[in-house]
């Protein structure tokens, strides 16, 4: 498929490119500033407003009042790929969607990360069948994926877990910033 060739070309280009420039320029040249930058990046992941299927609803739910991704600085859903750090592939990627998805990924500025949310994005999920003619079996064939969040669909908590994993990957620590807990939530919907 031509998309897979495109991905191979992309990986080649990326390995030849100057990686420090892509990953943050001068700030990466000193250990201290590099660490500071990594912490900043880990705590400020702006996702793209991009939903594909069922998982998109759970992605929305993760941004809503109950789970509130905003606590991790990830609530700024930007509609334009140019202003995002994080591409959450939430749902089934079809053959028709693949070129558009790759274009979106290419439009994002470095440094950028990808979360494959849901079984469909990871491996084609339930749609990985014998006569499959339209579903891409795993988004990692098209773009590099950093964190996989399985489930069909994953609960919003799992997406938060994925974002924490991504923070771990970026900053080297699971909680790059010292954590503290606010007072317990008032039970607004108690079980009667």
């Amino acid at each position: 498929m031509k998309e897979i060739e495109r991905y191979a070309q992309f990986l080649k280009d990326e390995s030849e490119a100057d990686s420090t420039e892509l990953q943050g320029g001068a700030m990466n040249s000193f250990p201290l500033t590099e660490q500071v930058l990594k912490v900043c990046q880990a705590n400020s992941l702006w996702p793209l407003t991009f939903g594909l299927a069922c998982c998109a609803i759970e992605m929305m739910a993760a941004g809503m009042a109950r789970i509130d991704m905003a606590r991790y600085g990830a609530e700024v859903f930007r509609p334009s790929a140019r202003q995002c750090d994080l591409l959450i592939v939430s749902g089934t990627v079809t053959k028709k969607m693949a070129p558009a998805l790759m274009t979106l990924y290419e439009q994002m500025p470095y440094p950028k990360w990808v979360i494959a949310m849901g079984n469909c994005a990871i491996s084609g999920g339930p749609f990985k069948v014998e006569d499959n003619y339209n579903v891409i079996e795993g988004v990692d064939r098209l773009i590099p994926v950093d964190v996989y969040v399985p489930g069909c669909p994953p609960r919003p908590e799992a997406l938060i877990e994925g974002i924490l994993k991504l923070q771990e990957k970026i900053a080297g620590k699971r909680h790059p910033w010292p954590q503290r807990k606010m007072k317990d939530a008032v039970k607004v919907h108690p079980i009667p």
């Binding site: 299927a53 609803i57 739910a61 809503m64 339930p126 003619y133 339209n134 919907h189 079980i191």
Partner: protein, 373 residues
């Protein structure tokens, strides 16, 4: 029809605008190619297929009960309603018995699911119009439903709860208490939505008179569901061809007056209230008994075509199945409501402002993977 503008402007004046497949207002992966004249959309060409997941093909390759998970993944907002149609179809073809309690549970969960779907639809619609906050309130209310449904089905979104001959798990007293609490809460929340959204001057101005669908158009395109009822036609499969135990409940079909975007929104709002009524009656009349009749080891259906139509959250949903005597369907056609509801878009929005196009499209309450199947 050649407008005066087309005569004087000529082709060079127009330009193409590509909306989607990633665009905040196309609700997923719909792509719309617009031919614009300034801010006016003169020709609209929706491009489907970005979420085509071969459900109909998959049905032909797996046993009848292997298709349960797929039903929940077409319209993921109204998964139970889609399952309802599929198990109804299989029960009609196989003549399987369903315990009464199971039917009541099906109605309760289906209506809860309808409410949650409408809440998302309304929230997303208002989000399209630029108000961010109502969708969070809607999701907050929806979480209550999801908690309830999760407690009995184990899943938040893509329930796989209905089986031929009943449901997988019985509801308990906690569920009933929660459902009653939810009915009270939702009824107290509806005035809040009215204050925040329905009465809002900007909302009224944005939606009134936009995207009017009349009876003729509805017939030509096969529009159903709240979109149709917004035009004043009281067609509801639950009333016209009652399935399950819907004929035992007393509820109204809310209809709109003008068939514009505002009426469609109001119909959805009122359908929430009607669904609450149905749930309340069903909870009151809930009979005792088993919830599942043990099915035969392997479901084999006789040859022949069969149709089953239910009212999903977005309109009438038909499953048409052709059996061949084996344990797999020979052909399963799924008629999804959004498909027909979206198809009038080019006619509906011709010559509209881009903002109005977003309004009109949002009021159709689309779920794209349902359309693409």
């Amino acid at each position: 029809m050649v407008t005066k503008l087309e005569k004087i402007a000529g082709p060079k004046h127009r330009f193409l605008l590509n909306m989607g497949p990633q665009h905040p207002s196309t609700h997923g992966v719909l792509r719309i190619v617009l031919e614009m004249d300034g801010e006016y959309a003169m020709a609209i060409d929706p491009v489907l297929g970005y979420g085509h997941r071969m459900h109909e093909k998959m049905a032909e390759g797996r046993p009848y009960n292997g298709f349960y998970p797929n039903t929940g993944r077409m319209d993921y907002l109204g998964a139970i309603l889609f399952s309802h149609g599929y198990v109804g179809l299989l029960e009609r073809m196989s003549g399987a018995e369903v315990p009464e309690r199971a039917e009541f549970i099906r109605v309760i969960t289906a209506e809860l699911n309808r409410i949650s779907s409408h809440l998302v639809g309304i929230g997303a619609y208002v989000l399209d119009l630029g108000a961010f906050t109502p969708i969070l309130y809607a999701f907050d209310d929806r979480e209550m439903i999801l908690d309830m449904l999760e407690a009995i089905t184990g899943s938040r979104l893509t329930y796989c709860y209905f089986r031929v001959g009943g449901v997988t798990k019985d509801i308990d007293d906690t569920f009933i208490r929660r459902a009653r609490a939810f009915i009270d809460r939702m009824r107290s929340r509806l005035p809040m939505y009215k204050d925040l959204v329905t009465d809002n001057l900007i909302f009224l101005k944005r939606t009134k008179g936009i995207g009017i669908i009349d009876r003729d158009m509805a017939a030509r395109y096969g529009i159903t569901g709240p979109v149709l009822r917004g035009s004043g036609i009281s067609y509801d499969v639950r009333k016209s061809e009652p399935y399950s135990v819907y004929d035992r409940f007393d509820f109204d079909i809310p209809v709109g007056e003008n068939g514009d975007s505002f009426d469609r929104y109001v119909v959805r709002m009122e359908e929430i209230a009607q669904s609450l009524r149905i749930i309340e009656q069903a909870l009151d009349a809930l009979p005792d008994g088993p919830v599942m009749v043990k099915p035969k080891k392997k479901l084999k259906l006789a040859a022949g075509g069969c149709n089953y139509t239910v009212e999903a959250a977005r309109g009438s949903l038909s499953y048409y199945l052709v059996g061949d005597g084996s344990d797999t369907p020979y052909r399963l056609k799924i008629r999804v409501p959004s498909y027909s509801n979206l198809s009038p878009l080019p006619e509906l929005c011709k010559g509209m402002l881009l903002s109005d196009l977003v309004t009109a499209m949002g009021s159709l309450d689309l779920v794209i993977p349902e359309i693409d199947r």
